[in-house]
Structure formats: structure tokens, C-alpha cells
């Protein structure tokens, strides 16, 4: 029995004015038994048991829409739902099976796939350029690239990692990766409410990063960037961290001459939640796309701050079955309709979750072939590739 709300909620949510903006903004609010506003009200009254045993705690995909729109600046995404899930787990509620497996795997292996640490290097075989390990270089590097789990292990996302390796190489960046030592940064685990797991990942990562000297961290995973930039500092671990869109956009003068091959296409960009609403990065991905010869950038409905989540964040990658059974809708299906409405031929993304989610959405909505999903990295890599080779 949970008779009183956990302390962080009390501090944060007694300021709530009960306006209901959160529930009205939530893309899955229609499927929730309790809107965030009602949850806060029940938390104040010490009546959370019913909420904890409903599906509501597991319906949040951490899109930050409620948080971006809350007139009281309450940390609904960062605090309320993780605390709800944490309280549910502590009360013995079992997480949905896919999430349970991912959390178990992350605790044991440092990645949600349950892959062995040595397999973190598999993707480098297809990069076509050297990808140095920082432990073997035994010297400081300018850029420590945190590849993260999906680009390391997921076959679709490995192509994104390979593209970034080639681009960094072409730009002459002094970079290295962690390889088998790398563990998940833990953003999705944090938002999934597994604060103990997040703490153990932070401990591992902080100890490991303390062993190496590097100028800055670059990652291709916006979720990792979200936690490195917004959460790790609060735990005493400050690193200069950028998403690749920011890193490459800062080097557009050097990058532009490499982009020789035309990619003639109408391209629309999907603002992912962590880069956009969480970290306020909207222009860098567009600057990169505009730099590619042949690309015509068009905006889709609901862009920038209004963007609709793909449904994969905050543990959403491991909640698909539960959300489908409850909401009878996949957010990626909703979002792909926006991309199609833009008339674009290519949907550009900058998050490893989104390539497979949107490719699946094209299939499940019967729109396969009407649009191609490409990471910005893949488009840049295609434009920068020598005439004889194009990596697709």
C-alpha cells in the first residue's frame, strides 16, 4: 500500500494548478485511465494505489509534450511518470514483459538487447574506416564517441553508426569509442522508473569515463544526450556532450566541401522528442539537411515544438505490445501520416529508434514504397561518398 506520495512529487506537484494542459497535450492521454492532472490530484490526497495498478504508468513514452506545455513548468516527464513507475515496481507490480526483459538485460549486460559486451564492436567491421578504441590508443582524444546500444547492436541502426564513423574520418576528427566497456547511458531506464538501474549505470559510466581523457562526448542517440546533458550533471558528473547534429552543424564549413554528390529529393525532418522539446535543438538538423546538394527541405505538419512522438522513448521501445493493446494505436503510425502529408520522398530522422519504427509504420499503414526513412547521417554519408561507392 502506498499511502503517501514519494517526496519528490510532494515538492514538485503541490504547485500544480490543475489546468489539465498535460492530459490534453498527451498523445496517449486518450488511453490513460488517469490523466497526469488527475494523478497529481490523487497523489496529493495519498490515493495512488489504483493508479499504480492501472496501465496508466506504462503508457507514457516520455515525449516531453506535457512538460513543454505545463504553465507551471512542472517536471511531469522527468519526475512524475518515473516516480509512478518506481512506486509501482516497489509495490510489486510487474512491468510489461518486453520492458522486464530489457531492464533485466541492461542490468546484467549493460544493454537492453542482452548481447555480450564483445559484440559492441561488430558494427565497426562494416564501417570501412578505422574505428579506434580509446583503451588501445592510450592517449587523450578530442572526441569520445558514445555509440550507444541501438547503433551498436541493431542491424538497421548499425548503418547509422557506420555512416558517422566515415564522416568523422572524412572530417579528420580525432575520435575513439569505448567498445566493450560501454554501457547504456540509461536515459530510457531512468524514465522507465528503474532508478536503481539508472544509478548503477551512472556509477559504471562515471568510473569508466574517469579513466580516459577526452575533449568532448559525441553521441548519435538523443536519449543519451538528454541524460548526459540534463541529468548526469545533477549527479555530479559533468561532460561536454553533443548530439552528432550539433557537432556536425558546428563543422559545416569543413563538411560542406565533402558533400559533393547530389541527393535530389524532397526531404522532411521529424523532430525527435529528446533533441527537440527536451534539449531545444531544432535548427542544427535542418542546417545539415540544407547543406546536402539536391535536398529540398519541406516541413511536415506538427514540426519543431509541436512534433508528435514516434512512441519509442522512455522505455516505449519495450512497451509496444502493451500500448497497442491499450491504446489500439501506434504513435509512429500517426506520425508517418504527417510525413506523407508533407509530400516528401524522404523522412529524415536523427534518432536510432526512429528508423525502424517509421519503416515499420510505413508497412503497417500500407504505405510501403511511398516514403524512404533515412537518418541524416545516411544522407550526409551518401552525399560525401566517393562517386564509386554509396552506402545504403
Amino acid at each position: 500500500m502506498l499511502s503517501a506520495p514519494p517526496r519528490p512529487w510532494q515538492r514538485e506537484f503541490y504547485q500544480c494548478i490543475q489546468c489539465g494542459m498535460c492530459g490534453g497535450s498527451c498523445p496517449l492521454g486518450h488511453a490513460m485511465d488517469y490523466s497526469p492532472r488527475r494523478i497529481i490530484h490523487l497523489a496529493r490526497e495519498g490515493l495512488l494505489d489504483e493508479v499504480l495498478r492501472s496501465t496508466t504508468p506504462w503508457l507514457c513514452v516520455s515525449c516531453y509534450t506535457c512538460m513543454a506545455r505545463c504553465p507551471g513548468d512542472l517536471k511531469i516527464t522527468d519526475l512524475l511518470f518515473p516516480a509512478l513507475r518506481d512506486a509501482a515496481l516497489a509495490a510489486g507490480v510487474q512491468p510489461p514483459p518486453e520492458m522486464k526483459r530489457a531492464l533485466d538485460n541492461t542490468y546484467r549486460y549493460g544493454n537492453p538487447f542482452g548481447e555480450g559486451p564483445r559484440k559492441r564492436l561488430e558494427w565497426t567491421k562494416g564501417a570501412g574506416v578505422p574505428v579506434p578504441l580509446i583503451s588501445q590508443l592510450k592517449r587523450p582524444v578530442d572526441v569520445l564517441w558514445i555509440v550507444e546500444c541501438y547503433p551498436s547492436f541493431h542491424p538497421r541502426n548499425q548503418r547509422q553508426a557506420q555512416a558517422l564513423a566515415r564522416l568523422l574520418h572524412a572530417l579528420g576528427v580525432d575520435f575513439a569509442i569505448l567498445g566493450p566497456e560501454e554501457h547504456c547511458i540509461g536515459d530510457c531506464e531512468r524514465l522507465a522508473g528503474e532508478h536503481g538501474l539508472f544509478e548503477s549505470l551512472v556509477e559504471h559510466n562515471a568510473q569508466m569515463l574517469a579513466r580516459y581523457e577526452f575533449g568532448e562526448i559525441v553521441t548519435g542517440d538523443p536519449h543519451a544526450m538528454n541524460s548526459l546533458r540534463r541529468v548526469y550533471p545533477g549527479l555530479g558528473h559533468r561532460y561536454p556532450a553533443s548530439h552528432y547534429v550539433e557537432f556536425l552543424a558546428r563543422r559545416l564549413d569543413a563538411l560542406r566541401p565533402l558533400l559533393r554528390r547530389s541527393v535530389p529529393a524532397r526531404v522532411t525532418y521529424h523532430d525527435n522528442c529528446c533533441l527537440g522539446r527536451a534539449c531545444g535543438v531544432y535548427d542544427a538538423p535542418r542546417d545539415l539537411l540544407r547543406a546536402i546538394p539536391g535536398v529540398t527541405l519541406v516541413e511536415m505538419p506538427f514540426s519543431r515544438e509541436m512534433s508528435v512522438c514516434c512512441g519509442g522513448g522512455g522505455g516505449g521501445m519495450w512497451l509496444d505490445t502493451m500500448i497497442w493493446q491499450t491504446a489500439h494505436e501506434r504513435l509512429a503510425d500517426r506520425r508517418i501520416a504527417h510525413a506523407l502529408a508533407s509530400g516528401a520522398e524522404i523522412l529524415a530522422v536523427a534518432c536510432p529508434f526512429e528508423t525502424s519504427r517509421f519503416e515499420d509504420a510505413l508497412k503497417s499503414t500500407g504505405n510501403e514504397g511511398r516514403l524512404v526513412v533515412r537518418d541524416i547521417l545516411e544522407l550526409l554519408d551518401e552525399s560525401a561518398a566517393p562517386q564509386s561507392e554509396v552506402h545504403t
Binding site: 512491468p95 546484467r108 542482452g114 528503474e194 544509478e199 548503477s200
Partner: protein, 256 residues
């Protein structure tokens, strides 16, 4: 009711298994161990009995691989006591050694019910549960998917048979049960709870008894599966494929 759960570690298949230079054993340089899946179900079964009937659950593990982490996790899930049996001779004990050691410990600390997994991926020479039943001269039922209390001193277990058949069997206690699966998947326990248990609880130790030489299977050669033949792909019109198939089946004596 006092329940002991015998937990064993098996090689973790997440890393590719490699064979050592002798050609007779696994290379342990990169080998990690993980709790055997059916032992995890045995623990869940014990915890379900505790939830329903208020049993005392003792988790026992031999000291190799991730035994400590496994025992702390068992405590976090709800086991009342966790005991590591140590020290062991170097390396992973064989199943007969493991059974003899568990049997000696359990003979010194008798319980009402012993639960363990009915099988493990490294079972080479007998299953732990059956061996334990034999060594302790206790009733044994294996391949169970449910264990319930029937009356004082008795259980009703559901045992699976090949072909989808099942039986309900009444078992008098004390007994050894080999669990294939618990009625529900092993429970998730938050990592915060495991970390808290690691700071606030301790694991007991039990001196590993000397059990003498156990019968062992001699491994003459260990090797990875070898391709034994080539598949033949038959293509073409359905009539042609059917004729080819019929000819192959006839040549093998399947069709006459």
C-alpha cells in the same frame, strides 16, 4: 514449511562459447555464468508457495560464477535466507558433484521441500533434481509446472509428460521437486531493491563438504556443431517440384 531452493549456474550463451586448447572443455577465459533458467523458475515456485502459505525459503548456491549476485537477487525477491556453499575445487562442478554437495548440506540442515530446476543446459550426466532425490532417499517428481499445498505434509504437483499430457500427483513431504516452470514467470525485482539488499543483508556460508570421487563421464572431444550435409533446393513448376520430392522420398524408402 521450510523450502530449500538449490540454485546452479550455467554458461551464459550471450558470449560465443569457445573450446580450450585441450579440445575437451570450454575455454573459461571469456565464459560468464548465469542462473539456470529452470532454477530461476524453482525459486519463483518457492516464493509463490511462501506468498500463499507463509513458507521459509532458503536459497542455496555453490560458490562459482555469479553465485553471490544470484543469492542477493533471491533475497531481494523474497527469500528469507541465502547461503553460499564454499570453497569448491577450481572450476564448475559436475552435476553429480553438485548433487552430492547439496545432498550433504541438506542432510545436515533438513527441510520439508527441496526445489530445483529439472534441467540445465549443461546437464551431461544426470539431472540435479533426480540425483538429489536418489541421494537423500526422498520422493521425487520432475518436470512440474505447478506445486501447491494439498494438506499438512503433502503437495499436489502438476507434472508434464511428452505429447501435451499432464498429471496431478500427490506427494508426501519431505520431497524433491524438479521444476520445469513456475505457474508465472520469475518476478522482476527493482535494481534499487537488489542494491539495498546488498548493503543491508548478508549471505551465509556453509563449508563445502568433502564428497569423494563421484562417477564422471569422460569427455573425449568437445566440438562445435559441424555441417554434415548440404540442403538441396528444388525449384521450378509445382509439378516438377512434386515429382522431384516423390523421387527423393522413394529413393530413401519413405514411399514405396
Amino acid at each position: 514449511m521450510k523450502i530449500a531452493v538449490a540454485l546452479t549456474m550455467v554458461p551464459d550463451l550471450v558470449e560465443e562459447l569457445e573450446i580450450d586448447p585441450t579440445g575437451k572443455a570450454l575455454d573459461t577465459q571469456w565464459l560468464r555464468y548465469v542462473l539456470s533458467e529452470s532454477d530461476d523458475h524453482a525459486l519463483e515456485q518457492a516464493l509463490l508457495l511462501k506468498d500463499r502459505h507463509g513458507a521459509q525459503v532458503l536459497a542455496l548456491a555453490l560458490d562459482y560464477g555469479d553465485a553471490e549476485q544470484t543469492l542477493f537477487t533471491a533475497l531481494a525477491k523474497g527469500a528469507d535466507e541465502a547461503v553460499k556453499i564454499t570453497p569448491l575445487p577450481a572450476g564448475e562442478p559436475g552435476r553429480r558433484d553438485a548433487a552430492a554437495i547439496f545432498a550433504e548440506v541438506l542432510r545436515a540442515h533438513p527441510v520439508d521441500l527441496i526445489l530445483t530446476g529439472v534441467q540445465a543446459i549443461n546437464d551431461l550426466d544426470g539431472h540435479l533434481a533426480g540425483l538429489l532425490g536418489g541421494l537423500l532417499n526422498l520422493p521425487f517428481v520432475g518436470v512440474t509446472r505447478s506445486v501447491e499445498v494439498a494438506a499438512a505434509g503433502a503437495l499436489v504437483v502438476q507434472k508434464e509428460y511428452p505429447g501435451g499430457a499432464a498429471a496431478e500427483i500427490r506427494v508426501s513431504l519431505p520431497a524433491v521437486i524438479g521444476v520445469i516452470s513456475a505457474p508465472q514467470p520469475p518476478r522482476y525485482v527493482p535494481v534499487a531493491r537488489i542494491r539495498e539488499v546488498m548493503k543491508t543483508r548478508s549471505i551465509g556460508t556453509e563449508a563445502a563438504p568433502g564428497v569423494g570421487a563421484q562417477p564422471v563421464a569422460t569427455i573425449r572431444r568437445m566440438y562445435k556443431p559441424e555441417a554434415a550435409g548440404q540442403a538441396t533446393m528444388i525449384s521450378g513448376a509445382p509439378e516438377h517440384v512434386a515429382r522431384e520430392l516423390a523421387a527423393i522420398l522413394e529413393s530413401r524408402g519413405v514411399l514405396r
